[in-house]
């Protein structure tokens, strides 16, 4: 068999942990090879070894059959290995071309950068792989999906034959994911090979040829995707059986908890993003808001939680007007908020995880008396939540930054749910998490519902919306444009509604009444 990349018995240690323990991955020419594993399983470490960012303690790497020693990313580049990072490495005020040639600029005889020539080359590359990127556009003006294509172009421009994609779909909308899959296929057609780092099983089933499963730093198995199924992959990845269908009983909605009337909210650029939104949410139900990113979801949550001023309209919580209340007042009125961006909003990453557990309650008894903090009580509470919510951390004094994404999220959920709020807002609660953590979080949301709380779920993952919600509210252009029951719809219909078609059109085209 012809392998383009072989990583044989790789071992990489960090102080205190073995991140990669004897892992072997062999990538064939012209295949899409998935690297599947939970958060923290060691996928990224392995790829950073391949890319020359880390040196392995043991093992060898072969590229096209030849043993190589990759000590820095430049060598990886020269060997034709390119990486599309999860967090893009782009200079925002620069154009696409300027970003791509950065560090590798074609020069005229006079020493000036030959931008025209570069633009032409990039245009050609873009056309060849169907990327549809405008070489003269500024990065700050193009969408996230486009930015990712620029990253892809960057590796191609540098002559990459093997492309590593690190969780490429985490930041994309459903439509962008579809486009990306097309792009991957056309790359393969042109003779490139792809390593796809992911924990999304559906993507693997859809696009990959073979898959290597990594669990807790060990290579578990490499298998042909066509001979396996989602359930097998999931149990290999997590090490136990996973239930995919979220277990839940019929909702039993009671009195209205949240009532939003004709709400208008502007974004930071002073453009109306929420435009006359109406929404009602009752105790004991989960309402899922489906919508493409940028249709006002973020602004809606920020308006409810007091993080953003509203222009007009009212927000009532338990028949009390909370419009434009300060965040603390909103919290105290009984709102819990699992924020979309857990690093930016959910946690103070440099605080110990224990202190993060009282981020909204530190000033209350028993965590402080007067202005003096009572660390004993704080850590007692923290320990309780860490246990209850299975937050895996070396200790309660460990900085939140050091925890994996899933454990950070479990900590936030523990903190928010523990306050027992009447309204729990969960914005993309499972973003970037693996199936084990997702299962846990969904269960918790449903538990809260069953306790008679109202849950508002915002997610770009349609699976999640359909699985967890009792009612789906489709948000488009700052309004709720449709309300559907999850059992009476499907992804196609939702997709069309999210794109602005009206209900009957969408239903007709998908055979739903």
């Amino acid at each position: 068999m012809d392998y383009v990349i072989e990583m044989l018995n790789i071992r990489k240690e960090f102080p205190g942990i073995v991140a990669n323990d004897n892992i072997t991955v062999q990538v064939q020419k012209g295949e899409i090879h998935a690297l599947l594993g939970e958060n923290g399983a060691g996928k990224s470490t392995l790829m950073n070894v391949l890319f020359g960012l880390y040196q392995p303690e043991k093992g060898e790497i072969k590229v096209k059959g030849k043993k190589v020693n990759i000590t820095n990313p430049n060598i990886a580049n020269d060997l034709g290995i390119g990486m599309v990072h999860q967090h893009f490495m782009l200079v925002e005020p620069f154009t696409v071309t300027q970003n791509i040639i950065l560090g590798n600029e074609p020069k005229k005889k006079s020493g000036k950068i030959d931008i025209k020539k570069a633009e032409q080359e990039i245009q050609e590359l873009s056309d060849r792989y169907g990327l549809k990127v405008d070489p003269t556009a500024k990065i700050s003006d193009i969408s996230v999906g486009m930015q990712q294509r620029v990253e892809i172009l960057k590796t191609l421009y540098r002559g990459a034959d093997v492309l590593i994609f690190d969780e490429p779909t985490a930041v994309l909308t459903p439509q962008e994911i579809k486009d990306l899959i097309e792009i991957m296929r056309s790359l393969i057609k042109e003779g490139k090979s792809i390593i796809l780092i992911t924990h999304k099983l559906k993507e693997i089933m859809e696009v990959c040829d073979r898959c290597t499963v990594i669990r807790k730093g060990k290579g578990i198995k490499t298998l042909d995707v066509k001979n396996t199924n989602v359930t097998e992959l999931a149990s290999l990845m997590v090490g136990r059986e996973i239930s995919f269908k979220t277990e839940k009983t019929e909702a039993n909605p009671k009195e209205t908890v949240l009532k939003i009337n004709d709400l208008f909210v502007k974004d930071t650029r002073k453009v109306d993003l929420v435009k006359g939104l109406n929404l009602e949410l009752r105790a004991g139900e989960i309402v899922g808001i489906a919508g493409i990113d940028g249709n006002g979801q973020t602004e809606l949550i920020e308006a409810i939680t007091g993080l953003r001023k509203t222009e007009s309209g009212t927000i009532m919580l338990n028949n009390k007007d909370i419009t434009n209340m300060k965040p603390r007042k909103v919290t105290e009125s009984g709102v819990g908020h699992i924020p979309q961006d857990r690093h930016k909003y959910g946690l103070v990453l440099d605080y110990p995880i224990g202190e993060n557990m009282v981020l909204q309650t530190y000033y209350q008894k028993p965590f402080s008396k007067g202005t003096v903090l009572n660390y004993k009580e704080i850590y007692k509470k923290a320990n309780k939540l860490i246990k209850e919510y299975d937050v895996r951390t070396p200790s309660e004094y460990t900085k939140a930054r050091a925890l994996s994404g899933g454990n950070q999220q479990k900590a936030i959920i523990g903190r928010e749910v523990d306050r027992s709020p009447d309204l729990l807002i969960a914005a993309q609660p499972t973003r970037g998490l693996d199936v084990g953590a997702i299962e846990f979080i969904h269960k918790k949301l449903i538990e809260e519902r069953d306790k008679g709380k109202a849950v508002l779920l915002i997610s770009f993952e349609l699976d999640e919306i359909i699985d967890v919600s009792d009612t789906i509210a489709v948000m488009f252009d700052g309004k709720i444009v449709a309300k559907v029951k999850p059992e009476e719809t499907n992804e196609q219909e939702l997709g069309l509604l999210m794109a602005g078609s009206n209900k009957t059109e969408a239903g007709d085209r998908n055979g739903i009444k």
Binding site: P327, K344, Y345, V372, L373
Partner: protein, 348 residues
Amino acid sequence: MASNKLFNILVPIISVLLGLIAGAIIMLVSGYNPIAGYTALWNGAFGDLYFMGETVRQITPYILTGLAVAFAFRSGLFNIGAEGQVIVGWLAAVWVGLAVDAPMIIHLPLAIIAAAAAGAIWGFVPGILKARLGVHEVIVTIMMNYIALYCTNEIIRSVLTDNMDSTDIIPPSASLASEWLQGLTYFSRMHYGILIALFAAVVMWFIMQRTTIGYELKAVGFNQHASKYAGMKVSKNIILSMAIAGAFAGLAGAMEGLGTYGSISVMSGFTNLGFDGIAVALLGANTAFGVVLAAILFGVLKVGAINMPTGAEVPTELVDIIIALIIFFVASSYIIRWILLRFKKEGK
């Protein structure tokens, strides 16, 4: 990572040693005897009780300006304005010392509080401009330094005196000077201010580590978004942090005005106490305890240096070079960390 704490202690110590070694090399290259130079430095700081008293006197304002910079830094703010806050604190202390007639038990605390309040106002202005209008505190504090310097000079000339360069000496009821301490140290200018400075360090530690105020201030310093999400008032915390920082620096001014000099004179330039405070805070890793240690080092170096020209014919400027080198090594602590990590790996 338990080794992290060890690193935080090791890095400044190694920086200091590297700074001293580099200083020795410079002395050697310039034709001076480094051993004689450092002996003179040591004697200049600890040689006899007089020098020791002078060293303690120098340490006192350094602790306070170091706290002023460190406190603001913990909430994510760069207080480059400690210099101006020192000057207005000094002025306020002397002003109250001269203008008020009261028994010591009222007069002295009043003068000290006036200094802290003046410094706090000088910190409050950049704080509120940052919080409300987003003006960067570095720019405003630098400008506030000049405003403090020239306004103070003008007030000394035309309000406190009749076109003189220096005010009268404050009455004993407002003075921190102590005959007992002076007698103990062969009439150095050591005064009771060191107790205030050490107390201030304890106050900073307490606020930062033990109170909800400190919890908020640090949270705002680490992550404003999460602080806002958690219901903290970000702008209030920015203003508060700058005001408290300013109060610390204002106290440093009181040390000079009520302790060391007992008066205030027209200044041709900055006192540098505030600017040195930036280095003290950096070397002390922005913690209260670290600031005290760093202030001791700076006090020793500054006072000891005075003895270098007479003791070893080494110019005092050399001490400034050594201090600069120490700061350089602290700032480039990354290199030291890297070397330490290397050693650790090979040791395994």
